[in-house]
């Protein structure tokens, strides 16, 4: 339900309610008023308005000593629990507000450096290549966005990295040799697989037979005569045989399917990896991977997924860098052929690896194997069979590449002289500077760099690369420069600048030709053209760069990578599912933006946006294909909306247990737009719990013992309880189970009944997850406000400040008219005068 009128956003204030004066007078003034001023502290004259630097600092100290339990001193009269809770609640929130007021930039947009994502996209746009940017700082901005110019710093290390990456990118982009031949390498999988397994198996058997021969001597001969150091070694070899041989023997003799293909079995050594190596000197680029595969009848569906990626140099067997996952839909009798386009980057290993979908963790494979052995099986049940694997490539659309043709605009069969070099440099600099003309003196120096190289005997092409790399480390490229007149701080953006701001907002990349020509002709400045271009950019798949970059930060999704999920407890929440879960969040937002659906659908919707893998994880049948699609939520399923999305739920855990605190705080921050203040320092320790099994409810109860904790946790935790029916990996559960795990073995477990009832901070109560979700769905306005603030911050490239209050009202008004359609917020921001101003 949407209210008819916009509820006035409570004007944020950093003024402490005057009612607390009485409290201070009662407990503090005896020592800290104008007369006493013990320790130099005079609270009687301390302003209740926290929004000056001095006052904020003083109140921070007051908060600190009360949190730490230092004040009032032990021997003095203490605040009652309720007084303390109420006072701390008000004070900590007002300090947060005061800090924001004090750090308000007053609408000033600081010149922005390309962040790491934008930098990689911009290089791709100019040169058509993918380069590793891991060496650059990730530009993560605690509490903000990576588009915030004020926070994007630059250091000398970084400058050198830019140069290095630019050289690598140019080397990759500019090829002078003949067009690489397309190679097709097909390999029958059973041949290498059987060889490897046979070798291991024979070795075990040989050692075992020797051991048995020694045993037959009944100790009359020394083990050394049989090649063993001592009898312990004999025992060791016998142990190996007993443990490992049955799985290898099973592979070679118990599975007829291994005669015609490779079975991706987990054996003692770990999960079976099928490896195809393309020639070491294969160029970077696009390749096509084809696999003919089938599944074993009766195998569980979640095992019928094939993971692929490339081997890492320090990979141990069974682990690799999982790049993707595809469902195998054919059977062994009637196999299917998977076609997977892959990109091999320059630095990447040329070994392409396939594995049955499993936790990407060798220990987990070993534990699976151990479980199977304990169940008297030779190995875990096989699920996938590979007939052959083929790699074709490199697949090249144009030779030379389009970016190369743009750089060497007259080709290389022309007069390769300085005049040509100069033009190349000039054109490239203009493009790299997004249309801003480079200064002549600068071009002269770039040409001089070329000339120096030529004088050293370097080839024309390589000599040109040197100044081109320098362009990619120059400030006009690295910064979105918006100069103002002398003495000025702000002005209207030019159309060119508007094009740049728009495309970095919606694509995290430079403007394309269409946008630039509309800017040149002056059309872009017209509101209707700007609307049309905004729609065009959002409809382009490149807008996923914006959506993923924005959502990742807005929803604090970095937490998803904080933990390795315990594979004993969450065997299915592996790398592939985690990645699909992450994509689900982006794809859901993408779907809403595309359809201009109400933002409230992020809280509750009757559909999910999933692919085959995630549908399987959610227990939704009949979804095929790796692409994400909108799917109606089946009757009785709790899914639909971010609250029930695996990624969001998993973030609210530590990889083993759900965390009502993290989940509750996430809902307050991201749905209710009421972020809890940071965890206070120096709070006296909570009392201890001695049992090894404690329910989440009981753990959180401790938070209520001390007012310092209770002030926030009384609001946070109950929301988390409403989500307790989801385990740490986001699966529905009726009971909470706790475990003590040692060396992968569950030593003890206990289950607790889940009580999902609770209340929202405003008092609305609920008895179940669904009831809580329905309550939260009524608060679409809160979500809309939070989203608006985040969008302003991300889109304008500066922190959201109190001076943005009117802008945010304006956006909300406009969006509300269109039923809070997600696209409307974006339009409203882009149409605002703030977006069009430096």
């Amino acid at each position: 339900m949407i209210c008819d009128c916009l509820p006035a956003q409570e004007a944020p204030t950093a003024v402490l309610p005057s009612k607390h004066h009485a409290l201070l007078k009662k407990y503090c003034f005896e020592c800290h008023d104008a007369d006493t001023q013990e320790g130099g502290v005079n609270l009687a004259e301390l302003s209740f308005d926290l929004a000056t630097m001095e006052s904020a600092e003083s109140w921070q100290k007051v908060l600190g000593v009360i949190n730490a339990g230092e004040m009032p001193p032990e021997e003095e009269v203490q605040l009652t629990r309720d007084e303390k809770t109420g006072f701390l609640d008000d004070l900590s929130h007002r300090i947060v507000v005061a800090r924001s007021i004090l750090s308000d930039s007053g609408g000033v947009i600081t010149m922005r450096r390309l962040n790491r994502r934008e930098y990689a996209n911009t290089i791709r746009d100019l040169l058509g290549v993918e380069v590793g940017v891991e060496g650059l700082p990730d530009d993560a901005n605690p509490g903000g966005f990576d588009t915030s110019g004020g926070s994007l710093f630059l250091s000398s290390d970084q400058f050198e990295k830019y140069l290095e990456i630019a050289h690598t990118a140019l080397d990759l982009a500019i090829a002078t040799g003949p067009r690489p031949r397309v190679q097709k390498i097909r390999r029958q999988c059973e041949i290498p697989a059987n060889n490897v397994i046979k070798k291991r198996s024979d070795k075990l058997l040989k050692q075992y037979n020797k051991a048995q021969r020694w045993r037959q001597t009944k100790g009359k001969k020394s083990p050394t005569e049989f090649g063993f150091i001592d009898s312990d070694r004999v025992k060791f070899e016998e142990g190996l045989y007993k443990n490992q041989f049955p799985s290898f023997d099973y592979y070679l003799n118990g599975l007829p399917q291994t005669k015609t293909g490779a079975v991706l079995l987990t054996t003692f050594g770990g999960a079976f990896l099928d490896t195809t190596t393309v020639p070491r000197n294969s160029v970077a680029g696009k390749y096509l991977l084809r696999v003919r595969a089938g599944y074993f009848p009766g195998s569980p569906k979640h095992h019928r997924f094939l993971e692929f990626g490339n081997a890492e140099t320090d990979a141990r067997s069974g682990e690799f860098f999982v790049a993707g996952c595809r469902e195998v839909t054919g059977t062994i009798e009637d196999p299917s052929i998977l076609e997977i386009p892959i990109t091999i980057s320059d630095e990447a290993s040329r070994e392409i690896v396939l594995r049955q979908r499993l936790p990407n963790n060798r220990d987990a494979h070993r534990l699976d194997f151990r479980d199977a052995r304990e169940a008297k099986k030779p190995a875990p049940d096989p699920a996938l069979w590979l007939d052959w694997v083929e790699i074709e490539g490199p697949l090249i659309d144009h030779w030379p590449s389009v970016p190369q043709q743009k750089i060497f605009f007259s080709g290389l069969n022309t007069k390769l002289d300085q005049a040509y070099a100069r033009k190349i440099i000039q054109r490239f600099a203009s493009r790299a500077f997004r249309g801003k003309p480079p200064a002549i003196r600068y071009i002269n120096k770039l040409v001089a760099l070329y000339t120096e190289r030529r004088a050293e005997g370097v080839s024309f092409v390589d000599a040109v690369k040197a100044p081109l790399a320098v362009i990619l480390a120059s400030p006009s490229f690295l910064y979105l420069v918006e100069p103002v007149g002398p003495g000025q701080a702000t002005r209207e953006l030019t159309n060119d600048e508007l094009a740049v701001r728009l495309s970095y907002f919606l694509w995290s990349a430079p403007p394309d030709g269409g946008l630039l020509s509309l800017a040149k002709s002056g059309e872009l400045g017209k509101p209707e053209v700007l609307i049309q271009q905004t729609d065009r950019l959002l409809d382009n798949p490149r807008s996923l760069e914006f959506i993923s970059g924005f959502a990742h930060q807005w929803l604090n999704m970095d937490r998803l990578d904080f933990f390795q999920f315990n594979s004993r407890l969450f065997n299915q929440f592996d790398d592939s599912v985690k990645e699909a879960a992450r994509q689900e969040v982006y794809q859901t937002i993408n779907t809403l933006i595309r359809a201009n659906d109400p933002i409230g659908k992020l809280i509750r919707s009757d559909f999910v946006v999933v692919n085959d893998l995630l549908a399987n994880y959610y227990g939704i049948d009949g979804i095929q294909g790796h692409a994400f699609k909108k799917v109606k939520v089946p009757q009785g399923s709790p899914r639909g909306g971010l609250l029930a999305a695996a990624a969001i739920l998993a973030m609210g855990s530590d990889g083993e247990r759900s965390s009502p605190v993290e989940r509750g705080a996430w809902v307050m921050r991201n749905i209710l737009n009421d972020p809890p203040p940071p965890a206070p320092a120096n709070v006296p320790q909570l009392s201890r719990i001695e049992e090894s099994h404690v329910s989440a409810r009981k753990l959180q109860k401790l938070h209520m013992e001390e007012p310092q904790c209770a002030q926030c946790h009384r609001k946070i935790d109950p929301i988390g309880f409403g989500l307790e029916n989801f385990d740490a990996a986001g699966q529905w559960r009726d009971k909470e189970e706790t475990f003590v795990i040692k060396r992968g073995v569950v030593k003890s477990r206990k289950s607790f009944k889940i009580d999902p009832s609770g209340a929202l901070p405003d008092g609305a109560t609920f008895d179940s997850f669904v009831e809580m979700r329905n309550e939260l769905a009524k608060r679409e306005m809160d979500l809309a406000q939070g989203f608006t603030q985040a969008l302003i911050e991300y889109g304008l490239g500066r922190p959201y400040g109190f001076s943005d209050y009117d802008l945010s009202e304006e956006i909300l008004e406009k969006a509300k008219v269109e039923k809070f359609g997600m696209r409307e917020f974006i339009h409203a921001l882009i149409q605002s005068k703030q977006f069009r101003k430096k």
Binding site: M53, A56, E57, A68, R99, L102, S103, D104, G106, T110, M111, E130, V131, G132, E134, G135, P137, G144, F153, L154, S155, D157, F159, G309, N310, D314, F321, A323, G324, T343, I344, S345, E347, A348, P438, A439, R441, K445, L446, L449, P467, V470, V481, P483, V484, P486, A489, S548, F562, D654, G655, P678, P680, A681, N682, Q685, E690, S692, V694, I741
Partner: protein
């Protein structure tokens, strides 16, 4: 399509040597220094170690009633028993402005107030080690060295790229794994000298060219943007300084440690990683590659390597049972490894035969005490570099600025610092 790009594009940077850039030193020192090294007293060094998520407060801090030389080492410090007479444990040092309960290193060496700058939500200032580097760094190939670990936030360190912050309060990048550290310190230069000289010349022309663009960008910028561009100018100046230094060291091969040190192959995690880093740290000091080192240590991977399945953060909020047990195991292991480092410093000899230990001012601690406590930062000082009185348990006045320790250290090392951060003076009991 997205997924493949992201993942197939793994950079090999983790295994590639960083370009040799931070190298430096005055030529007049190197030519003279090698000849006179044996005549001069060994140089002084400053090393600061930080371990993120504090300690177990009940079992790490000595009893406050036992001060002076005669105190009992609590369980968490037991592994340091043999060094008890050569180290001082200090209680009650704090950074008064710290309010972030998960930031163990961000302000540890700076004492800055995050909110000191109006209109900004984050501010920091120079770290103590960088003050030392300004003087000590002139004489070595590397002005200072920042060691670190991967995923530092999970180890309770807070924002930053290492423990070090430069004059402008900007983070200084660290080397986050032993492979990079080894490569920077000891890998030989494969390029011939003449080529390297030409390369330096080229680098200078490159800097000159980008400065040309920077100057035209600067024209017409608002005041705020001009300040931002200062970072770019500063970076270029930093590189120019480094190039000058590089030039002076161009003909001096990288000194190799006396005891051959094994080249790390990568993949060490937790306790092993700490040990290798300590080996490299000692080797760097021994060959005088640098005299100032900070090390932002791995904590989460340490506890993982000791068999824990919980996260670092989870451990830091211990309840009795698993979490506290992990926390205490961590304390003991960290102490054991710290003891290993002290052992190495004691057994490594300077050219005049004295112990390396006697010339290093070594500190060990975190801005986080335990759980969310930020007062009484865990602090141990050792080594003879700053001339501190060792072998005692000091309980200084409550809330004494941690920066008083940094000031004492800097002065003890012979530097003329008047103050640092929010310091109010030196710690008299140490001197």
């Amino acid at each position: 399509m997205n997924e493949q790009r992201r993942t197939f594009l793994r950079s090999a940077t983790a295994l590639v040597a960083l370009p040799l850039m931070e190298s430096s030193g005055w030529k007049r020192f190197t030519s003279v220094a090698s000849a006179t090294a044996s005549l001069n007293a060994p140089p002084k060094r400053m090393v600061c170690l930080g371990f993120g998520w504090g300690v177990t407060r009940e079992s790490w801090y000595p009893d406050r009633n036992q001060v002076g030389a005669d105190y009992e080492l609590p369980a968490g410090l037991q592994p340091l028993a043999k060094h008890k007479n050569d180290m001082t444990v200090i209680q009650n040092l704090s950074n008064q402005f710290s309010t972030e309960a998960h930031w163990g290193s961000t302000f540890y060496l700076t004492g800055a107030n995050r909110y000191a700058e109006p209109g900004q939500s984050f501010h920091n200032s120079i770290s103590a080690d960088q003050i030392a580097a300004q003087s000590f760094g002139r004489e070595t190939r590397f002005t200072s060295l920042q060691l670190g670990c991967e995923k530092a936030a999970n180890s309770g360190h807070g924002p930053g790229l290492s423990m070090s912050w430069n004059r402008e309060g900007k983070p200084i990048a660290g080397l986050d794994n032993p492979v990079d550290v080894y490569s920077k310190l000891f890998s030989g230069e494969k390029t011939p000298l003449a080529q390297r000289q030409a390369l330096l010349k080229q680098k200078r022309s490159v800097l000159d060219t980008v400065m040309e663009d920077a100057k035209s960008v600067e024209r017409g910028l608002s005041k705020n943007d001009t300040n931002k561009l200062t970072e770019y100018f500063q970076s270029i100046r930093d590189i120019e300084n480094r190039l000058s230094k590089e030039e002076q060291w161009l003909e001096v091969p990288k000194a190799q440690p006396r005891e051959e040190i094994q080249e790390p192959v990568g993949g060490d995690r937790g306790a092993d990683e700490l040990k290798v880093m300590y080996d490299l740290l000692v080797a760097a000091l021994q060959v005088d590659a640098t005299r100032v080192i900070t090390y932002r240590q791995p904590v989460e991977s340490l506890i993982k390597s000791l068999g824990a399945t919980i996260t670092g953060h989870n451990m830091s909020h211990y309840t009795s049972g698993v979490r506290k047990a992990v926390s205490e195991t961590r304390d003991r292991k960290q102490s054991e490894l710290f003891g290993y480092l002290i052992d190495k410093l004691k057994s490594t000899r300077e050219s005049d035969g004295s112990r390396l230990f006697d010339h290093v001012a070594l500190s060990y601690g975190s801005n986080i005490n335990s759980i969310h406590y930020l007062t009484n930062c865990p602090t141990i000082v050792t080594g003879g570099g700053a001339g501190f009185k060792l072998g005692q348990h000091l309980v200084v006045e409550k809330d004494t600025p941690l920066c008083n320790l940094w000031l004492s250290t800097l002065q003890g090392l012979g530097l003329s610092a008047k103050s640092h951060g929010d310091s109010t003076g030196v710690i008299k009991e140490l001197i």
